[in-house]
């Protein structure tokens, strides 16, 4: 219930406010989204395995987004921006995929 409300609230806030992301922050947005998706899928899987913990969820979400953005920032400064972003996308992509597979196993027992 609270989950649904929170998601609806976030989506409406995003749609209503339509904030313009500052140009400096735009490179970090896709990576931040991938990190957020990773945290979300991890949370759902943990919930299905009945070990969900809200504190771990929030901390992992904020931590993931920050670390991912930091790595992209570092990559930019070191001149290897694209490569490091690719690395993050690969790592988080694999995690998302395997979490999604675990969720699928829980939901459909297959």
């Amino acid at each position: 219930m609270i989950v649904l409300l929170a998601i609806v609230g976030g989506v409406t806030a995003g749609l209503v406010l339509q904030p313009t992301v500052p140009l400096d922050l735009q490179p970090y947005l896709p990576i931040a989204v991938v990190a957020a998706l990773d945290a979300l899928f991890g949370g759902v899987r943990a919930w299905l395995e009945q070990i969900f913990n809200d504190k771990v969820f929030v901390v992992s979400f904020i931590g993931n987004v920050l670390v991912a953005s930091l790595i992209v920032y570092l990559g930019d400064k070191l001149g290897v921006g694209g490569e490091l972003s690719t690395g993050i996308v690969v790592v988080l992509g694999i995690r998302i995929f395997s979490n999604a597979a675990a969720i699928r196993r829980h939901l459909f027992r297959a």
């Binding site: 989204v33 998706l37 979300l40 991890g42 694999i94």
Partner: protein
């Protein structure tokens, strides 16, 4: 490999398992729900603004691309207009010069000399029989193979070789895709395009050379450039061919203005100079 296996098996944040093992759930309802709600709101907010951003930016990128394309076309048209204007003005000055030179006998002699020099320098349009050589890239292989695609293109060296072979076979005037070659022409590549006198060409490349068709063809056919092109046809699938042609029309080349170069011996004394040196 172990890194990938590790990633796959430990996809879930280890924090969940750790807190589950320690078994401690913080007591109050608000302390559990508020952070969760804040986290979810933040996560969905982030996803939505990213989506909005991507949606808003895509048309902007397309618009910028369109604007650039339009700008390129407009500027190319301006260049074409200006060069046709230059051609027209050059014709006018040529006619004026001829009419003022025709006044005297010395002027008339100078005029014919000038006409011959212009013909040799390639700054007047010419017509005559000759050879037409066609070079083209290999047909697209379909699959996007980067290196393969690079290998199957006509390169500036090939075009240079063919043009040099034509000059060596006795060509008197040569044009590549309608670009007349003069003493200061260059054939080189920039990126994927071959430039002749800084004008990018698009394949197929048609080299038209005016000269004695039979003699030129005989010599050209035996040249190293043709042998090389034939092997490229076999190896890389490039397309290459030549045929005799009559009534080729080559446009005038761009007349280069020499600003700093001066003859070592002034033209008037040039003929007598060797004799003087021989006797002295």
């Amino acid at each position: 490999m172990s890194l990938l296996v590790d990633l796959w098996t430990n996809a879930l944040d280890p924090g969940y398992a750790a807190t589950a093992r320690s078994g401690g759930r913080p007591g109050s309802w608000t302390r559990r729900v508020v952070p969760l709600a804040v986290g979810l709101v933040a996560a969905s907010f982030l996803v939505v603004i990213a989506a909005v951003q991507a949606h808003a930016r895509a048309p902007a990128a397309a618009r910028a691309h369109e604007r650039l394309v339009a700008q390129v076309q407009q500027e190319s048209k301006a260049v074409a207009d200006l060069s046709s204007e230059v051609d027209r003005l050059r014709a006018v000055t040529g006619a004026l010069r001829d009419s003022s030179l025709q006044g005297s006998a010395a002027g008339a002699a100078l005029s014919t000399q000038l006409a011959r020099a212009e013909l040799a320098a390639g700054t007047v349009a010419v017509t005559g029989p000759g050879l037409r050589v066609t070079l083209d890239d290999a047909p697209a292989t379909g699959a996007g193979q980067g290196n393969q695609g690079q290998g199957n293109r006509v390169e500036d060296r090939d075009l240079q070789g063919v043009v040099n072979a034509l000059w060596a076979s006795g060509a008197e005037a040569i044009a590549v895709n309608g670009q007349r070659l003069t003493g200061q022409s260059s054939i080189r590549s920039a990126g994927d395009a071959i430039l002749v006198d800084f004008q990018p060409l698009r394949p197929p490349y048609v080299v038209e050379a005016i000269g004695d068709p039979v003699g030129m063809e005989t010599t050209f056919a035996q040249s190293a450039a043709v042998a090389r092109m034939r092997s490229y046809v076999q190896l890389y699938g490039l397309r290459f061919g030549y045929a005799r042609a009559s009534g080729l029309e080559l446009p005038a080349g761009v007349e280069e203005q020499l600003h700093d170069a001066r003859p070592v011996h002034p033209p008037a004394t040039k003929q007598s100079t060797p004799n003087e040196k021989g006797s002295g």
